[in-house]
């Protein structure tokens, strides 16, 4: 295990995979000699050259669509979306082309491509540069959606996504880029999908994604001081949403709190609450609770932005209110 940042973990995965397979190439804005606006591609251009590390025009429809063209003709492209918010620009390519192309061909084509989108709030980037974006794609069959919450997940999931033979959208989080954690460099490729239990407990089940995972673990610490043992899951993949282990947990704890950094309406926590309710209705001691962003865009001013992002205190208080 090496102690590295989330940013370094992304870069390590890209480097390692590109060294392994020369059919892998990456496209995005400012990722060439500049190394990427978030420095997630530093050194790739120097190592792999301009054919495999392509600086694109500011044209997400163009280069994300191009990724599909490459994927169905034998390459394994990665497209970096500088801010996840810009996925709105290439929505048609992702939803109407990438997600459906294999299906419409009668299952004949393969589209092994990865879209990496760096999203999330907390860095004072205001309403158009702070969204995470998963909800937009949640109802699109054909996509695989994953959300790494730590350096080790960023490293492992990206390697797994690159090796997967279908389109994967990897939502990364910019507030996590500088966080450090142990990473199993060169270790086995982890499962791309399915939740991970990060803390065991008997009193309540907390499920979170991306930056909310760390905050949920912090909430569990707060709850422990009051003698409440929370079980914490990282949902990891939203499509497919694998709920089996979470259902089992709820059967034990009888309480579900789900945390996401998106507006509540149409978020993945709604789907999780529905699935857990369907599978474990008789075990629930309280209605499942969701801790989310409010139903308005993310504000710029630091005290305002801080107030809308679910905090460990808010998550802990929500758990307590159900007990």
């Amino acid at each position: 295990m090496q102690e590295i940042t989330y940013r370094e973990a992304i870069l390590a995965a890209l480097q390692e995979e590109m060294r392994r397979d020369d059919k892998i190439l990456i496209m995005g804005e400012d990722i060439g000699p500049s190394g990427g606006p978030f420095k997630t591609c530093q050194g790739l251009y120097e190592e792999f050259g301009p054919m495999r590390v392509r600086d694109t025009p500011i044209a997400e429809t163009g280069f994300v669509g191009a990724a599909l063209g490459l994927a169905i003709t034998g390459y394994r492209p990665i497209a970096e979306i500088m801010f996840a918010d810009f996925l709105g620009v290439c929505f048609d390519q992702v939803v109407n082309s990438i997600a459906k192309h294999r299906f419409m061909s009668g299952g004949k084509v393969k589209a092994p491509l990865v879209i990496r989108a760096i999203g999330g709030a907390g860095l004072r980037f205001a309403a158009q540069h702070s969204q995470t974006g998963e909800s937009w794609f949640l109802s699109v069959p054909g996509l695989t959606i994953v959300c790494p919450s730590s350096p080790n997940e960023a490293y492992g999931m990206l390697r797994a996504a690159i090796r997967y033979d279908n389109p994967v959208v990897v939502f990364e989080h910019k507030a996590l880029l500088s966080t450090k954690g142990p990473v199993d460099i060169g270790g086995p490729i982890p499962a791309l999908t399915g939740p991970a239990m990060l803390r065991e407990g008997r009193d309540a089940t907390i499920v979170a994604s991306l930056a909310m995972v760390g905050r949920s673990l912090a909430a569990a610490e707060l709850l422990a001081r009051d003698g409440i043992a929370a079980e914490v899951f990282d949902i990891r993949s939203l499509r497919p949403m694998v709920t089996g282990p979470i259902v089992e947990s709820v059967k034990k704890t009888n309480i579900l709190v789900a945390v996401e950094e998106q507006a509540q309406v149409g978020g993945w926590t709604a789907e999780l609450a529905a699935q857990v309710t369907e599978a474990a209705f008789d075990y629930l001691d309280a209605p499942p609770a969701r801790v989310t962003l409010p139903d308005h865009p993310v504000p710029y001013s630091p005290p305002l932005e801080d107030s809308v992002i679910p905090s460990p205190e808010r998550i802990a208080a929500t758990v307590k209110s159900l007990l």
Binding site: A66, S97, F103, G106
Partner: protein, 336 residues
């Protein structure tokens, strides 16, 4: 009515001149596409084709003329008005009809339909139902062609309407900046769905769009199959030599409406009449008779033969089985 051919479309060094055999093959391909589409229309009225379908009668010279230029390992992307391009790549007509009829014997197993007729094994990278949506994908196939370094090219077919959407401009720009071997082939039939070009676009000569990207461009009479061939062959030679993309504007006209529910009453009858008088098939038939490659009786026999061929393919397709609900493996269809 516009039907011009720029100089570049007539004379081009490095273009393989057409043989008599090529000329007859071009004529046959145009007839095949025409008769296929006529059969689709008949089948639609019989209730065999479902939903909608977009026919290309009148535009056959584009599919046939370009099709003769492409190599087996080239990539071809197109739109919902793409039956002709599939046939030009050698798609089996029975499998094509069966797809249109929603049968399990269809080339996409009946899940694609008329708008998504495709076969990657023939270098067809897809039929895109969203206007302009296929262009970035063709750019990606162009990157593949560039990286493979084997002189392949990627051809993208689209209509005049697509030149107003962002995907077109992003694609043209990327292809030019990266010097990709992509041919942007615009079938300018003057109508985007039900609306004439002058209501939606500041000019009718879309070649002007290419000049904004400093891209090699040619405007050609899209109803003159040899002109289409020559122009495309010249641009293809450039692309294969690493000299970058081209924009080829084929001035043409669709004989029918936008889709099967559109009687196209919005068109000036005089305009329609003028273009029908320049039917690419009758023009080429006359040219081949003049060259003594064909007689009137020979042409009629060939047309009858193709008509019977399409009719037979359609009948075999109509006898094909429906997909069995519950037996379709949607998981495998969606994920590799």
């Amino acid at each position: 009515m516009k039907a011009k051919t720029t100089k570049a479309a007539r004379a081009a060094p490095g273009v393989k001149p057409l043989t008599d055999e090529d000329r007859l093959a071009l004529f046959r391909m145009m007839v095949r596409i025409r008769e296929f589409e006529e059969e689709v229309q008949r089948s639609y009225l019989e209730g065999l084709v479902h939903g909608t379908t977009h026919l290309c009668q009148g535009q056959e010279a584009v599919a046939a003329g370009t099709g003769l230029v492409f190599r087996e390992d080239d990539y071809v992307g197109y739109t919902y008005r793409g039956h002709g391009h599939c046939l030009a790549r050698g798609m089996d007509e029975e499998a094509a009809f069966a797809e249109l009829f929603g049968r399990t014997t269809g080339v996409c197993g009946g899940v694609g339909g008329s708008m998504h007729l495709t076969d990657i094994d023939k270098g067809l990278i897809g039929a895109f139902g969203i206007v302009g949506g296929g262009l970035p994908v063709s750019v990606g196939a162009g990157v593949t062609a560039q990286m493979n370094g084997r002189g392949q090219l990627s051809a993208a077919f689209f209509g005049d309407g697509a030149t107003n959407i962002g995907a077109f401009h992003e694609s043209m720009n990327i292809a030019q900046v990266w010097k990709l071997p992509v041919l942007f082939i615009c079938e300018n039939n003057l109508y985007g769905e039900f609306t004439r070009i002058n209501h939606t676009t500041p000019y009718e000569d879309l070649i002007k769009r290419a000049r904004g990207y400093e891209m090699n461009a040619v405007q050609v009479d899209g109803n003159d199959v040899e002109a289409v061939y020559n122009a495309t062959a010249a641009c293809a030679a450039r692309a294969r030599a690493g000299e970058g993309p081209s924009f080829i504007e084929c001035m043409t006209y669709r004989h029918r409406g936008h889709s099967r529910t559109d009687p196209a009453k919005y068109r000036d009858p005089k305009e329609v009449e003028a273009w029908l008088a320049r039917d690419p098939l009758t023009l080429y038939e006359a040219a081949l008779i003049k060259r003594k490659l064909l007689t009137k009786a020979g042409a009629e026999a060939l047309i009858a033969e193709e008509r019977a061929r399409q009719r037979a393919a359609s009948e075999r397709a109509a006898a094909g089985p429906w997909p069995e609900v519950g037996a379709v493996d949607y998981e495998t269809l969606t994920f590799a």
